[in-house]
């Protein structure tokens, strides 16, 4: 059984623990053992320490990576930002001896050290490359037959491809689509499929109405070009943002024009495996009952 340290980050354990529950239930069923990373902290997000003090940011990356190293496991993250921050940080440290030395000096006082022995993997990467669509298909008890989905690829797993990429080529990712197809759903393509959700960084915080308009273009393309019953993501930011933005857009008119339920991949997988919707898919703004009632 392949073993990974589950990196929780901040949003999942605090705001969307139903996703954490879905991950903890589904992965062992696929032969992936998850262990905790005791004492892990914020990745750190790009808008925090990496925007203020590079060495401080890298030392926090290294703090988290060192925990996985001690346990001799690779890390797995569902959150795209956590994945990218940890992976870019690790890469920077391994390329730059001087920074590695500075960071290890900081870690030493806490009784830790960073060597670079633990790799950083994203959920889609592990599901596709270590488990595979066939095994996933074999693991489910009820599929999403007759359901049409669109997928949202997390930008942080695509760019910069030379450091974070695993889906090839980066401009035409296919892994999440195939993983969803393995659950029996039909995945529809659309013109803005690769448009970023817009939820990370400072865009929504500093220019909310512009950010809302930006994401509206994506929803409008989904509505116009597809007949999607749901949106499937694999990143906590994409999940929260695509859900919350629809609520925001519905405030502008009374007819609830935007009501496509949004799920994390592991949540849909958990439903297909027969786990309880109230444990694995209970938290959202846009109602999900059109999908959860199928199970």
């Amino acid at each position: 059984m392949k073993k990974y340290g589950l990196f929780l980050g901040c949003n999942m354990p605090a705001i969307r623990p139903d996703v954490e529950r879905a991950i903890r239930l589904t992965m062992p069923k696929l032969g992936v053992e998850l262990v905790d990373l005791p004492g892990s902290v914020c990745c750190p997000a790009f808008g925090t320490f990496p925007s203020a003090d590079e060495i401080a940011g890298l030392s926090i990356n290294a703090w988290n990576l060192a925990i996985a190293e001690e346990l001799e496991v690779d890390l797995i993250s569902e959150c795209g930002s956590c994945y990218s921050s940890l992976r870019l940080g690790r890469d920077r440290l391994l390329r730059d001896e001087k920074k590695m030395e500075q960071v290890n000096e900081l870690l030493m006082a806490a009784g830790k050290s960073f060597k670079g022995t633990a790799a950083v993997r994203h959920m889609i990467d592990v599901l596709y490359n270590e488990v595979g669509p066939d095994k996933i298909n074999d693991s489910i008890t009820k599929g999403l037959n007759g359901i049409r989905a669109v997928v949202q690829y997390p930008c942080h797993t695509l760019f910069p491809s030379e450091t974070v990429g695993f889906d090839a080529p980066s401009g035409r990712p296919h892994m999440l689509r195939e993983l969803v197809e393995a659950l029996g759903a039909e995945v529809e393509g659309y013109s803005r499929e690769l448009q970023c959700c817009g939820g990370a960084g400072g865009f929504t915080r500093r220019a909310l109405s512009d950010a809302t308009k930006f994401t509206k273009k994506k929803f409008d393309a989904i509505k116009k070009e597809t007949s999607a019953n749901l949106i499937i993501v694999s990143c906590i930011t994409c999940l929260m943002h695509l859900d919350e933005m629809q609520k925001e857009l519905n405030r502008e008119s009374e007819d609830n024009n935007y009501s496509i339920p949004v799920f994390d991949y592991n949540q849909v997988l958990a439903l297909c495996m027969g786990f309880e919707p109230k444990e694995v898919a209970s938290i959202s703004f846009i109602p999900r009952n059109t999908i959860t009632e199928m199970f």
């Binding site: 901040c10 354990p13 005791p38 004492g39 925090t48 926090i60 806490a110 695509l158 308009k213 444990e279």
Partner: protein, 169 residues
């Protein structure tokens, strides 16, 4: 008209010493074309920022809040044909601004210092219980002695040393 007589000609070395060589930028705007935040009312125009750095326009750059609108998607990093690493430049400009003017320091760093997280991970007990999870997750919120070590580590960083009044346990 921009007066270039008194600009800081070494600004690019100071800011982007460790990212790509921004002197390769020829202003093609590929970084802007794929940027979500370029669609903002006050848009993030990375190529303009790169130009400001190259021309040494310190005062203008210090006033420039657009780097903080970046969504961090890194599409620019992928698309730049000249290896400038625009996303790294954006982060480097933010860091430079923080060292020149501490009001740029994002408040989230003090939250991470105090709690280890940007969200109330240790306080989501009811919500976590409702989905049959351990009420306090096994991150740093469960290990106060580790939080103390984490804070000790951060106290030795330049950011916390220079701005210690911001950071409370």
């Amino acid at each position: 008209m921009i007066d270039l007589t008194n600009t800081n000609k070494d600004l690019w070395k100071e800011i982007t010493e460790e990212s790509g060589d921004i002197r390769n930028c020829f202003n093609c705007a590929t970084c802007v074309a794929g940027c979500p935040a370029a669609e903002a009312e006050s848009p993030l125009l990375i190529r303009n920022l790169v130009r400001m750095v190259l021309l040494g326009l310190e005062d203008e750059l210090l006033e420039e809040e657009s780097p903080w609108v970046c969504v961090t998607c890194s599409a620019c990093e992928e698309m730049c044909p000249m290896g400038v690493h625009p996303f790294e430049v954006c982060l480097a400009i933010r860091r430079w601004q923080c060292t020149k003017d501490e009001t740029y320091v994002p408040p989230a760093v003090t939250e991470i210092f105090a709690e280890g997280h940007t969200q109330p991970v240790g306080k989501a007990r009811e919500l976590r219980k409702s989905v049959s999870l351990e009420e306090v997750p096994p991150t740093i919120v469960k290990f106060p002695e580790l939080l103390k070590k984490f804070q000790d580590m951060l106290r030795n960083t330049e950011l916390v040393r220079e701005n210690d009044y911001m950071f409370e346990e």
